[in-house]
Subunit: 154 residues, 2 copies
């Protein structure tokens, strides 16, 4: 499996095993991140910067992967790829789920019960629908959220 | 090669071929995203939200991959993994370079000469050093930049 292959490669961390994937879609009209119009503004997409404090299970990459995938689907997004890196010795996780409508990323600091999450979605998705999934998955005592509208043209 | 394998998988876009990689580092002390102190503030990392307008070469995934890697290295970051998706029919690219110190992501709209870039770096990196690399690679006529300090604790 890909994951096992990756494990084998990354035992030589860091520089000799940088993986690069460049993928072309063979399907027409697969772009789902057209510009949207909302509240009288026109822009590419909504980017939520979400800081989770007092959070749990931040050192479990399988759990984090499942949570971010569920969050993406809850927001109406299409998942293309995910990659998570599990660090030693603190157990922190860094990773991203790439979507047809942009991405969800996470970086965790289990020793501080803190995670920085980014939910960037375009097209018909609603990134706010991802928030309850994150709350369920990580049980944060405090959530700090900031919204940025990227690529504003009007 | 991994890239060829991925190409083969994604020709069945979108849902049946979601790739998931979960990687654990076998090396101790590979964490490079410790909290920093600057300007009297203590926080996890600096996150630059960079919107490029009037930009070129936004439909060339190999060029974008090379540019983001060069940008990461210029900022002093350690590259772990990159993945780029090339969309049809507009040729837009979505992707990310995952770093030991967080990530750089990009989403391009070649038909609008617009790209949304995120440069999230922790530890000893300086994400501002990535900006000239992006300017060189994509020749934007206008760059909009916003800085967010993530995970502020003091």
């Amino acid at each position: 499996m890909n994951a096992l292959t990756q494990l084998g490669m990354v035992s030589d961390f860091p520089s000799e095993n940088q993986t690069t994937d460049i993928v072309s879609a063979a399907v027409e009209d697969d772009r789902k991140d057209y510009f949207v119009e909302r509240d009288g503004m026109r822009y590419a997409g909504t980017h939520l910067l979400v800081d989770l404090w007092g959070a749990s299970r931040l050192d479990d990459p399988e759990h984090i992967d499942a949570a971010l995938r569920e969050a993406a689907l809850a927001a109406g997004a299409t998942i293309l790829h995910s990659h998570f890196h599990h660090f030693s010795p603190n157990g922190g996780v860094s990773g991203v789920v790439i979507l047809a409508e942009s991405h969800i990323s996470i970086h965790t600091w289990p020793e501080r019960s803190f995670a920085a999450v980014d939910i960037f979605m375009c097209g018909a998705c609603d990134p706010y629908l991802a928030i309850p999934v994150l709350q369920e998955a990580f049980s944060p005592t405090d959530v700090r959220l900031d919204e940025q509208r990227r690529g504003r043209i009007a």
